[in-house]
């Protein structure tokens, strides 16, 4: 019985991935959990291990291809067939050979079977001349635990139901069928999605962090190699997913001078799509403020050396994280997502903060969990390891998901301020520029103070200007009185 392996549900929001590398070839025998292929999702490169042991009968995908969740990646022969040396691929191209519908055998309600004169029961020794090992196995193999849709060929369902299953990313083969004669109904498919939470989480566990470093082919660097099992992905230009308004056609730039066209990397495309989505859907409003971080700066300076002795590089970001998390607790509407369809604001009772990290490949936002509950030193440590993993392209999906609020610190690169775009579907983002010593009038005297310009950009559907000002002030207050950060106030 050939066993198809589809792209598992990779978790929230992720519906597709780009194949980076195929690590097996047709005919290879692989062990359970052996690496099958590498995919690049929104922001991480992950390795997909083999769900079971067996011989790879067909590889349906190739590097560079974008696959959706539920799409079949690889078909395995039955493990018992390994070494049995059957030709394989006798069925040829399934899609265009629809003349032999194969339907799964087990079913709850068989027909009454008294034989009328006009009815012939063909082939009483059913398995004598099985042409493809697949049929044989389908008849004798025990049913897959999850459903009745076992066997080769199409699962019985109407075309509309099959389409619904594709739409919802449901593999019909694992749906429990309730219709007559084992037919899968629309309701069965919908039921499968509601129960998929447990299924996808178990699949998530199979998604291991990538075991390697950079996998980025610079545009045009890798020649498209075909056929090789481990061929490197070639850069292929693909259009961005459309969001709302359609872009008008571009002029022919060639008329003014030479141009060069460069395909977007998967990451670049994802960033472009996410930013366009956010900027299109969310009415952005930005509030500016400055925090007097003279005292905080002094604390950091004093602690740099002792921290280094403990193997730690102390930075402002960990203090920013703490300040933001504490301020979010006071202003929960900034730690939220707007569910426009439901007409509800989803307030999150956890404080997982994303930190924008610039990499050679582009912007990546790893997430630090439960910032409100962790001591500063731990935050600093986690931040360092995360940033390292991200820069090496080894971040796992879990490193990048579940954020509730984002901080982007452009200080290292200079500038006096920036208005970042909200990391959809979050409600706000904090932008931080470089802290500078400036003359400040304090109690009638001009004194040098270290000032940190911040900008709070938030979803105006969720909060108003006054709320934003208060939330920004709550952050500023904590940065100006670092003892509050230590006391978690």
């Amino acid at each position: 019985m050939p066993r198809p392996f589809a792209l598992p549900d990779l978790g929230e929001g992720l519906t597709e991935a780009e194949i980076v590398k195929v690590l097996v070839g047709e005919g290879d025998v692989v062990a359970e959990d052996a690496p099958l292929l590498e995919v690049e999702t929104d922001k991480a490169t992950v390795e997909i291990p083999s769900p079971f042991a067996g011989r790879v009968a067909r590889v349906h995908i190739q590097p560079g291809q974008t696959v959706k969740v539920g799409e079949v990646l690889v078909t395995f022969d039955d493990s018992s067939a390994v070494g049995a040396g059957h030709g394989g691929g006798g069925r040829g191209r399934g899609a265009s050979e629809p003349h032999s519908p194969r339907t799964p055998p087990p079913a709850p309600s068989p027909l009454p079977r008294r034989q009328p004169a006009t009815v012939a029961n063909v082939s009483e020794q059913p398995l004598a001349h099985a042409a493809g090992g697949s049929e044989r196995a389908a008849a004798s193999a025990p049913a897959m635990a999850t459903g009745t849709g076992v066997g080769v060929g199409p699962v019985p369902a109407t075309p509309a139901t099959r389409r619904l299953a594709r739409e919802l990313g449901v593999d019909l083969r694992v749906v429990r069928a309730t219709g007559p004669a084992g037919r899968v109904t629309d309701d069965d498919v919908r039921a499968a999605t509601s129960g998929s939470a447990s299924r996808s989480s178990s699949l998530e566990a199979e998604v291991a962090p990538a075991q390697r470093g950079q996998a980025v082919a610079e545009p045009g660097a890798a020649a498209p190699t075909r056929g090789g099992a481990a061929a490197e992905r070639a850069q292929v230009a693909k259009p961005l997913a459309p969001i709302g308004a359609e872009a008008p056609p571009l002029p022919r730039f060639e008329q003014w001078g030479p141009v060069q066209r460069q395909p977007l990397s998967h990451l670049r495309r994802t960033i472009a799509e996410r930013m366009a989505l956010s900027a299109t859907l969310i009415p952005h409003v930005t509030h500016f403020d400055r925090a007097d971080v003279t005292e905080l700066d002094a604390i950091i300076r004093r602690s740099v050396e002792p921290a280094r002795e403990r193997g730690l590089v102390l930075t402002l970001t960990s203090f920013l994280l703490k300040a933001a998390a504490l301020a979010l607790k006071e202003h929960p509407q900034f730690n939220a997502s707007l569910d426009g369809a439901a007409g509800e604001l989803i307030l999150k009772r956890y404080y997982h903060l994303g930190v924008a990290v610039a990499t050679e490949r582009g912007l990546i936002v790893p997430v630090i969990r439960d910032v409100d509950r962790k001591p500063l030193v731990q935050l600093q440590r986690e931040l360092a390891t995360l940033a390292q993993r991200v820069r090496e392209g080894k971040a796992t999906l879990d490193d990048l998901r579940g954020g509730t609020f984002t901080i982007t610190n452009i200080g290292a690169l200079g500038g006096t301020g920036a208005i970042p775009i909200i990391n959809y579907p979050e409600a706000a983002i904090l932008g931080v520029a470089r802290a500078r010593e400036e003359p400040v009038v304090l109690e009638g005297r001009i004194v040098p103070r270290t000032l940190l310009p911040i900008s709070l950009t938030f979803d105006h559907r969720v909060a108003d200007g006054a709320d934003g000002a208060r939330f920004a002030a709550a952050i500023v207050r904590r940065l100006e009185r670092p003892e509050q950060l230590l006391l978690d106030w």
Partner: protein
């Protein structure tokens, strides 16, 4: 790029204006994508409309009229000998049938905003096509759909230079009614056109390499057709290879299997069709093409090149217009980001001979080859009231079902109107209906559609 080249930028470029191509283009346009069709003849319809399905059915309709007039004698209606005038017949076929449908397609394209560009399209990369025509131009596309179709195959070693040796395209032009016609190939094209020419008055010989006419459907469905062909044709040579064709004066001499030699006025070579994928520049893309010229696609009609899709005959068997149309719609939807797939369970097939043969899904012989247990019911039309009133009791309706679940797996019909009747069976198999569903549905009386219900009832032993 040469300076001054006209470059068109589109979302989707469809290559080939046949059923697969125009279906894809129309769907793309409906979904808001800017779409052009590049067609060598600068027309929509493809082989189906211009040199296949439609003109052959028009001629078969004429053949059926003549046959009906002949049969009418048996029931006491006399029309006299039919007289066929080729000029009005050709004109009717070209203008009232093909021309009218072509104008219809062109106006649909206009309504949907699909531009048809004349010329031969050649890929220069996964982003760009060169169109070779009087006004060379380039098309820069986001997606391309290859729908270049197929052409009649040649028999290796047999020349096609003489205009007395025709392929199906030439035969449909109806150059004349040859006194003696040799049809090489006993498949559906050979039998359909053989019957047309026989009805028009030719003495027809059919030479088929295998040992039976019409490979594919079950033999018991082919038998009534074979009997009809035996009456209509002068000779059916099975298991016969034509080894040479020699033009002698106004005749063509055919040598069969080495010894027998016979002279004919015309020869029709109908040995199948081959995909058209050569010279398309596909080697500049990542799409893969096999040794027979078939472009490999997955169930979303995507080739190995993410920007390039392919539909229809160029993607291989079964080379049928209705399959191409479905594929075209799937390709259009996939390009527009919808979750479509060509996951169809059945591609029904029809041979428009007299009697018609139609089938879909699993055949009995395929089940036997696979060693699969099936239940089979065969309902002979001798028991059908409607068949009796039509004077056609030679039909058979056959159902193939899964013995354990009662699910319908396939159907085959032979008899007049089989091509229309198969639609119900196709719907039943595609939607995974059971024999009981079919038996319990009320079918109008008296019609031939009742034969499907009767066969289903036979399977339920309630007849």
């Amino acid at each position: 790029m040469v300076m001054g080249d006209l470059v068109i930028e589109v979302d989707v470029a469809v290559i080939g204006g046949g059923p697969g191509g125009y279906s894809a283009a129309f769907r793309c346009a409906e979904l808001g994508l800017e779409t052009v069709v590049v067609d060598a003849g600068k027309r929509l319809g493809g082989a189906c409309l211009w040199e296949g399905c439609i003109p052959s059915k028009a001629l078969l309709h004429v053949a059926a009229l003549i046959e009906d007039a002949t049969r009418a004698r048996e029931i006491g209606v006399e029309f006299g000998e039919p007289h066929v005038s080729l000029d009005p017949l050709r004109k009717w076929k070209a203008e009232r049938v093909v021309g009218r449908l072509a104008r219809g397609l062109a106006s649909v394209a206009k309504t949907k905003g699909v531009e048809v560009i004349g010329g031969r399209a050649v890929f220069e990369s996964s982003r760009e096509l060169r169109v070779e025509s009087d006004e060379p131009q380039k098309i820069r596309f986001k997606h391309a759909v290859v729908a270049t179709g197929s052409l009649p195959s040649r028999v290796p070693g047999l020349p096609l230079e003489s205009d007395r040796i025709m392929d199906s395209t030439a035969a449909l032009e109806l150059p004349d009614i040859p006194e003696r016609l040799l049809v090489i190939g006993g498949g559906y094209i050979g039998l359909e056109l053989g019957q047309v020419y026989a009805s028009l008055g030719s003495v027809v010989t059919v030479a088929e390499m295998t040992d039976g006419l019409l490979p594919g459907p079950d033999r018991d469905l082919v038998q009534p057709l074979a009997r009809r062909c035996e009456k209509l044709f002068a000779k059916i040579r099975l298991g016969t290879t034509v080894t040479s064709l020699t033009e002698r004066g106004s005749a063509v001499e055919a040598r069969f299997g080495g010894d027998a030699v016979e002279a004919f006025d015309r020869v029709l070579v109908a040995v199948g069709r081959a995909p058209v994928s050569a010279g398309l520049g596909l080697e500049t893309t990542r799409a893969s093409v096999d040794a027979r010229g078939v472009v490999a696609v997955d169930e979303r009609c995507r080739t190995a090149d993410p920007a390039i899709y392919a539909v229809g005959d160029v993607t291989g068997e079964p080379m049928l217009a209705h399959r191409a149309m479905r594929q075209g719609k799937v390709a259009g939807e996939v390009i527009a980001g919808r979750p479509a797939a060509f996951d169809n369970v059945v591609v029904p097939a029809v041979v428009f001979t007299d009697p018609e043969v139609a089938w879909c899904g699993l055949t009995e012989s395929q089940a036997q080859r696979d060693g699969r247990r099936v239940q089979v019911a065969r309902f002979a039309w001798a028991a059908s009231g409607r068949a009796a009133t039509l004077g056609r009791s030679d039909g058979v309706t056959k159902l193939i079902a899964d013995p354990d679940t009662g699910r319908l797996l396939g159907a085959g019909i032979v008899g007049p109107g089989a091509g229309e009747l198969i639609a119900e069976a196709a719907l039943a198999v595609e939607t995974a209906l059971t024999v009981e569903d079919l038996a319990a549905t009320i079918h109008t009386h008296p019609t031939l559609s009742e034969t499907l219900m009767e066969a289903a009832e036979a399977l339920l032993q309630r007849s």
